[in-house]
Amino acid sequence: MKKLLFFLILIFAAGSVHAQDKDAKDTVVTGTTKSITLPDIKTPLKDGAGKEYVEGNCNICHSTDYINMQPKLPRAKWSATVKKMVKTFGCPVNEAEMKAIEDYLAANYGTGS
């Protein structure tokens, strides 16, 4: 029990120190200018074949947590999504890379159908 208590105090202390220096620095008003500093949050993708194409291209316009956030999707939905990123929004990948990305997404974030 003592050990647990000590552990809890440690965590609370660490958490509050961190919260303090964050609050102090992430929003600054000088004269008529208000500025914020956005946190750098990384949500890792699953390891798998083709991951390098995703990390190299699918983070140009947005963080790759757009991928992690999705429910498990059938391959057809992943294909349509990749196609939208490339044809509608201009994600700079060729056909072979598109295929590798679709395979990666269907294998790691798919429904298996």
Binding site: L8, F12, T27, L38, K42, D65, L73
Partner: protein
Amino acid sequence: MDKWLTRRFFLKTVGVFTATAAIGSWPANIFADEKKLVRFPEKTDLILLTSRPPQLETPLHYFKELLTPNEALFVRWHLANIPTSVDLSQWRLNIGGNTDRELHMSMDDLKKLDKVSYTAVIQCSGNGRSFFEPSIPGGQWENGAMGNVTWTGARLKDILNAAGIKAGSVDVAFNGLDSAPLPTLADFVKSLPVDKAVEDDIIVAYEMNGAPLTMLNGFPARLIVPGWYATYWMKALTDIKVLTQTFEEFWMKPAYRIPDNACGCVEPGTAPKKTVPINRMTTRSVIVTPTQGSGLKAKNPVEVMGVAFSGGYGIKDVVVSVDGGKTWNTARLGRDLGKYSWVQWFHSWRPEKPGKYTVMAKATNSIGESQPFDSLWNPSGYLWNKIEKIEVNVI
């Protein structure tokens, strides 16, 4: 950074653990819940959907409050280049296009116009998208892409009249400080039909709950279109352009559209023949307490509580069922802050016997619009308003 996240989340979890240990009941899915809480500038811990651009969801418990605190209001941007620094001495609201004159208003100019204030629900078009079946790609929001806020600003109508709308105007387009990271990606620009734009209640707000807007909610000014989904509520507004043609760039067409029929719905998994831009919000109620899977004690009174709102027509009544829809009770409604605000509703319940119970709530607005028992599906996952079913365990 990742480490910090985990620690923060763990911190929260520990907090819940000690609190519930004290009262002796356990939230059912405390460890199953993998939601990540993150802290952004001027914000409290919110649920992370995406980080760049930020999409952050409000935890459900904040809806116990009639007004959503600024630091807890959800965040939703579309394009990665979001404004992180604004100099008010440089910022201007530019109005032009099919107008008698061009205006470049400073914040002081804006504040000289008639000051209007009201409370209105702000809700993302995709709020509740994660509940649709079959599931729909896009922001996987639960119920936290909404909030109830008192907005203060100048009437859009007064701004447009100062510029002078010329004959032949069709649409009014709105642009903000955010921009696309690649030139192939369309800038986020939205439009309203000119007849809608001159309605009395549409304002350019510079305050939320009596304070300047937070940067992530659109500092220094944003459009408020009460009753309509927040996709039109342009954040960090800079440009208003009156047009002689229908505006149909990407974020108006094909994005943000609903099936052109009375229910805004199609057979699940199919595509509509014709679509229209999403517009007025559907009527809905959200159960805030008890929460899904919570454990209650037999013969102990509980307050079933939630919020209800509709697209600008107030709420006439809310009925609550604690037996999965067999019988219904009229809920007591809280303070009325006007037709655009949500209303809190309450139903006191004393479960007699142990067992599983299903709590439901159904709202109806003043023109008879209500909620469906089965979900109405559309390909983009908008308009979610299915009657909720919250399962609780009475011991």
